[in-house]
Each structure stands twice: as structure tokens, then as C-alpha cells.
């Protein structure tokens, strides 16, 4: 089941309203003879979603001036169970995980396609061993023009034409990567996080506005084991093993959710208090997600809380409220759920 609030400008959620300002269950039973109720939501973009239904991938939303659904034709010999499909406003990217091949399709003209092979490189220090590495892509993070690839062995590559990112100085194996509009976050299995990219809006969390070319440890969180990371457009969230939430970066619309009535941006990770009217809610945070200028979190009692920009109803509350600056409870789930956000959308999905 998908429960959604926010941008429906291209009817990607099948409702007629352009804005869904209160959480609604997506009820499209059948769509062009597809069983949407069994759809797995893979990515929410600004004008389309990518879903997988019974081993086929579909683009739903704006396809062209007439159509709203397009079946994504996978490259020959591609096994649908072994690919990652993602997109941005211009391109659709199909990644064969084990072949480490990347097909880049032009959204405007599907016949235009480039195929790129990701060359698995050993870090320079190891290259003397001349060992050919057996490795596979396991995760791709894509937002606007930023893209990161992560391999099973924990190597990170950046860019549409993948360039190796040196993470040999990072403690532990890299287990997750996240892209903001112009910054990057990685998480290692030791619970440490590293950031790099543009820091002009404080999104790197090192206490200043410097840009960083190499992944650099967020030292303020060194004593805290982080288990999940998330990048918004210009802000970042981290979830600790104890269910604590940390936020930093740009806060121009309250996306950090840290203080009622204030929009001060944070150059260092700030522990976020979840407030039930005036008392601190001590329930643990279970899941986190970010849109371009808002954040959503799920607590252990299955309640969903949001903060930040609400111009398009993405917080799940009436668009009369343009933004809120502290997390507010907006929905109570009954099932075990997880969160996924698009730039202006929040989705609650059954686990």
C-alpha cells in the first residue's frame, strides 16, 4: 500500500487534484491493465515515478503530452531482477548490477541511449597487487545531476561517467551513499559518516561553509553510531542506533525541524527533539527521508512526522500552511511502514 501527500501535478498518483495536501491511499486498482496495487515504488521524481510491477518497470506521470504511463524497455539480455532503474528530469538510467554496465537513456527521445561500463578499480594502494577485482554495483543514488554508485565491496564512484572516489581513509566498509543537490554523504559499517561536495549552505556538517573534494568524517557525530543517512536538497539527516535524529544544513523553510518559529541553519549536526506539544516525545525514530526542502520521519509507534516546506502539500497538511519549522505529527500508520520522499512528495509504503 502507498499513502502519499504532495506533488501530483502530473497525476502521477492518479488523483485529479494537482496537489494532495493530506495523506491519501493510492487506490489505482488497475491501470492500463497493470496491477498497480502490487507495484513496488522505486523512485519519486518531480514529474514522474518509477515503479516495478511483476518484473516490469514503468514510468508513471508525465511521459509526453498524451501519455501518462510508459513501460521501460530494458536493454537486451538484461535480467529485470538484477537491474536498478532510476531517473532525473532528463535521463533514465538502467544499471546492470553484476555486469556493472550503465545505460543512459534520453527521456525526450528513448531511442537515444549511451552505454557505459563501470571499470572496477582497485584503490591505488592495492593496485600493485594487480588483482582483478570481482565486484558488483549494489546501490545507486541519483538526485538532479548528482549520482553515486556503491559496490558490494564498498567502493564508491561518482558521476554519470563514473569516477572512483577514494574512500580508503574511511574507517569501515561503505554501506550506503546519498546525494543532495550538490553534496554527498556516505555511511560505513562502523557507524561513521563522511560528507563531501558543496558546503555553502552548511550541508556538510563540519561547522563551516567550505567545499570538500574528498569524503571527510563528520567529527561531531564520531561518538554516535549512525545506522541511516539521508540527503535533502541542501540539508542532511542521520539516524543513530538509539533512534536519535540529527539534522544539519540549510533551514530556510524549516527542513531541519529543530526549533519552532526559527529558521537558523546549522553548520554542525544538531540533535532534534521531537515535541509533543511542549513535552519531548521520547519514542525512537525508526526511519528518515528527505525531500528537496523538507524532512519526514517515522517513529516506533508508527506515527509519521514532517517539517519544512509545504507549498505543495508535501508535509501532509493543508497548503494554507506554507512551512513548519519543528516536526509535527501528520499521520498514524497501522502497518509496519517505511518512508520515501520525492523532491516535493512524501510516501508511506508498507514494509
Amino acid at each position: 500500500m502507498q499513502i502519499v501527500a504532495g506533488n501530483n501535478l502530473n497525476h502521477q498518483w492518479f488523483y485529479d487534484d494537482l496537489i494532495i495536501s493530506e495523506f491519501r491511499v493510492i487506490t489505482a486498482e488497475s491501470l492500463c491493465n497493470l496491477h498497480y496495487s502490487s507495484a513496488e515504488l522505486l523512485q519519486i521524481n518531480w514529474f514522474y515515478n518509477i515503479v516495478k510491477i511483476q518484473s516490469c518497470f514503468y514510468l508513471i506521470g508525465f511521459v509526453n503530452s498524451e501519455e501518462t504511463v510508459r513501460k521501460i524497455k530494458l536493454p537486451d539480455n538484461c535480467d529485470s531482477s538484477n537491474v536498478i532503474v532510476l531517473g532525473n528530469d532528463y535521463k533514465l538510467i538502467v544499471v546492470d548490477k553484476s555486469l556493472c554496465k550503465i545505460w543512459v537513456y534520453n527521456l525526450e527521445d528513448e531511442t537515444e541511449c549511451k552505454c557505459i561500463s563501470l571499470k572496477i578499480e582497485a584503490p591505488e594502494e592495492c593496485s600493485v597487487k594487480k588483482k582483478k577485482l570481482e565486484d558488483h554495483i549494489c546501490k545507486v543514488s541519483l538526485l538532479n545531476d548528482s549520482i553515486l554508485y556503491l559496490t558490494e565491496a564498498g567502493s564508491v564512484y561518482c558521476g554519470l561517467l563514473p569516477c572512483y572516489v577514494d574512500t580508503t581513509h574511511c574507517v569501515g566498509k561503505v554501506i550506503d551513499v546519498q546525494c543532495g543537490y550538490e553534496h554527498f554523504i556516505l555511511l560505513t559499517d562502523t557507524g561513521l559518516i563522511y560528507t563531501w561536495g558543496n558546503g555553502r549552505r552548511l550541508q556538510l556538517g563540519h561547522g563551516d561553509i567550505s567545499n570538500l573534494e574528498i569524503p571527510t568524517e563528520v567529527e561531531a557525530l564520531a561518538g554516535v553510531k549512525i545506522i541511516k543517512i539521508c540527503a535533502g536538497g541542501w540539508h542532511s539527516l542521520a539516524l543513530s542506533e538509539f533512534g536519535d535524529l540529527y539534522a544539519w544544513g540549510w533551514n530556510d523553510t524549516g527542513q531541519l525541524g529543530i526549533t519552532a518559529n526559527e529558521k537558523y541553519s546549522c553548520s554542525l549536526p544538531s540533535l532534534v527533539d521531537i515535541l509533543d506539544s511542549d513535552t519531548v516525545n521520547t519514542k525512537n525514530v525508526k526511519d528518515i527521508a528527505c525531500g528537496s526542502k523538507f524532512s519526514a520521519i517515522l517513529l516506533e509507534d508508527k506515527s509519521v512526522w514532517t517539517s519544512g516546506n509545504n507549498n505543495y502539500g508535501q508535509l501532509g497538511i493543508s497548503t494554507d500552511i506554507k512551512c513548519i519549522t519543528a516536526f509535527r505529527k501528520v499521520y498514524q500508520c497501522t502497518n509496519d511502514s517505511k518512508l520515501m520522499c520525492g523532491p516535493w512528495t512524501t510516501a508511506i509504503i508498507d514494509k
Binding site: 514529474f47 508525465f62 528530469d89 525526450e108 526542502k293 505543495y312
Partner: protein, 401 residues
Amino acid sequence: MSNTSEILEQLEELKCNVAASLQEISELDICNKTFLQAYLNDYSKINPSSIIFIQAVIDYMYEKVNIGNWKEVKPFLRKTITIASYLKLLIYLHDKKVFTNSVVQECFKIIDYGILFGSPLDKEPKLLQKCAGILQSIHIHRSDDSTNKIKLETNVVDLQEIKYNVIPLEVLDCPSMEYFYKNFILKELPVVLDKCINHWPALKKWQDPNYLLEIAGMRTISIEIGNKYTDADWTQKLMTLKEFITEHIYKSNTSTGYLAQYQLFDQVPELRNDVTEPEYCCFSDSDDPTDIMAWFGPKGTVSPLHHDPKKNLLAQVIGEKQIFLYAPTDSEYLYPHEHELMNNTARVDPREPDLTLYPKYASAKAYYCLLKPGQLLFIPPKWWHFVESLSVSFSVSFWWE
């Protein structure tokens, strides 16, 4: 009273050129491009929900232009904001019958947002300025009935003798072009020039805030809030010129607001007619046009000690400013900030230099002037300068290479 259909007709005459300029945004994503195309080519596509969609296009492009350095933003993204703002204006007026004050105000808001964040189309570079001109015709018409006109306050400059350890700048009466070129442009030395802009209509007209309000009161401008841009709580805010004048110029109990380094004359061409570019700006090494900026604020606005890469003639139109200047060779005595974004700004406050923190300042050679209405100050490239307004002040700067 003019009804909207006449105005709409005039605005729509520009549509042809806007449609032709779609090729300038051919790089835009297919979704946004398709919608802009549809709206421009087929009016029947417009319905009550169009305003939501066109606003979403603008909001989304605004997010995109915030990615990376402003100067490196791809032009098609900003051009899309221009085209979408024009369309939003048409869509907004589509179901309006008459021009109430609030309708005109909203129209100017749409236009000014487009001017601030968009960029000129090759096919119709002054598109939004033209739209504003068309709307201005009704607005001027209606402004007679505005009831609470603002009275001009005479600004008494605090004239206690200011005792700084400084060298007063030379003041010259309208020197010849040759003399100015040889002694100041070539030698890169600062100087105050008197009686060069006596013919500017602005000197008289701008003394009356009602004149500014009549021409541009409804226009949205970007105001710097806070004492100086190096302060932590410094920020920028969009507001109308009317709000700025009533809330910040003639009220001292609010935070300092400053219309600083602002391209007001590009946005409101009527005001451009009140000033002329000084002839001295013709000594140029490039074909780029001179950047003309407005600086309008209450008493007490401060531009911290900094330097700019271009030649600058600062014209004082209303009120007085005190300015401290230092040669580029004095940099090490002024303690510039280290961060790359701030290294053209220095830490020393020339009004009360802290010699324990900044001991080397003792070796700096400070030049000083109190700039009066009708005077021009020549600031050579890279010369450090600190500027403070001593009264309500309106200056115009001319930057050229």
C-alpha cells in the same frame, strides 16, 4: 478606469516573441517545456488550475537556480523563469475583470520575481520591463487617490566634528577629462569630484519619497537586513519599495534595511532617466556596459571594509556618507578574512580600530571623505573602502572596467 482586457491585449502582443524564444530554452526538461509550449501556443489550454502549474514551474526552476554558484547557473534555467513569469501574468489576468489595487500589486510581484531571478531573453530582452511599463500606465492613473502620502523628512546630519586620524581626500570641481584620466585613472588614486552631476534630475526629484513611491512603490525589491553583511544575523528579504520606505527608511525602531548594490534601473527604467552616466566612465578597457547600481537606506547602513575589482564612481544623490579608503598595498594592515568567499573583506573597523587585535593597522594610511549630495567619489579598482551613511542616503554607483 482601464479594464483588464485592453491591458491583456497589449501584454499578449509580446507573446509572439516569447514563443520564438522557446528555442533559447530547448535544453529544458520535456515536461516543463511541453507545458510552456502548450500555454504559449494554445490559449484554450489555460484553465483555473493553470496558475498552480505555472507557479510550480517557477518554484522548481527557483530550486534549480539555487544549485551551485549563482554566476554559473545555466542561462536556460533563468530564462525559463522569465518565460514562466510572463505566462503567469497572462494566466493571472485571464479571469480578472478590473484592476483593483491588489490586482495591480500582484501583477508587479509576478513581474519583479521574474526580473530578479530570471534572465533576459535574446528575442525580447526587456520582456518583463515592458510588461511593467504597460501596467504602469494604469497604476500612475490611479495613484492620485492614495491617501496617506509620506512627508519628506529633513535629515539632520549629526555634525559633530569627526576626529579620525585620516588624510582628507582632494575635492576637485569638475576636472577636465584629460586631467582626471592622467592623475586618477592612470595612477589609480581616489578623488572627490564636485559639480559634475548638478544637472541630474534625481538630485531634486528623489528628495521627495512620494515621487519614488509613485513610480515604483509597488515594485518588489531585495533588501539586505542587518547591520552589515559580515554579521551572523544578516539576511536578504523581498519587499515592495513602499514597504521598504515606510518600514525601514522613515522608522528607526526596526532592524536596518538597505537597498544595496541593486540593479534598480534595469528593473524600473523610468528612474534611469533621472541620472546620466558620468563621462569619466568612458575611459574603459572593455566593451561591457557600465554596471549602474542603487544604494538606498536609512542612517547607519554600513558596508564593511572591502574592495571591488572594477573602477567605481560613487554618486551621492540624497544625504551624506562617510567613506574610509586604503590603497591595495595596505592590505596586510587591514586583516582580510581568510575564506575565499570573504577575502575581499577586511576585519578592521576604521571608526574604532582595535589595535590589540589588529596591531598592524597602525601602519595603514587612511584616506577619508564626507560625501555630500551632488558629489562623485572615484574609487580605483582594488582600493579598500568602508562606507557608512550619516543620514537617509541614496547613492548611485557606476562600475566599469
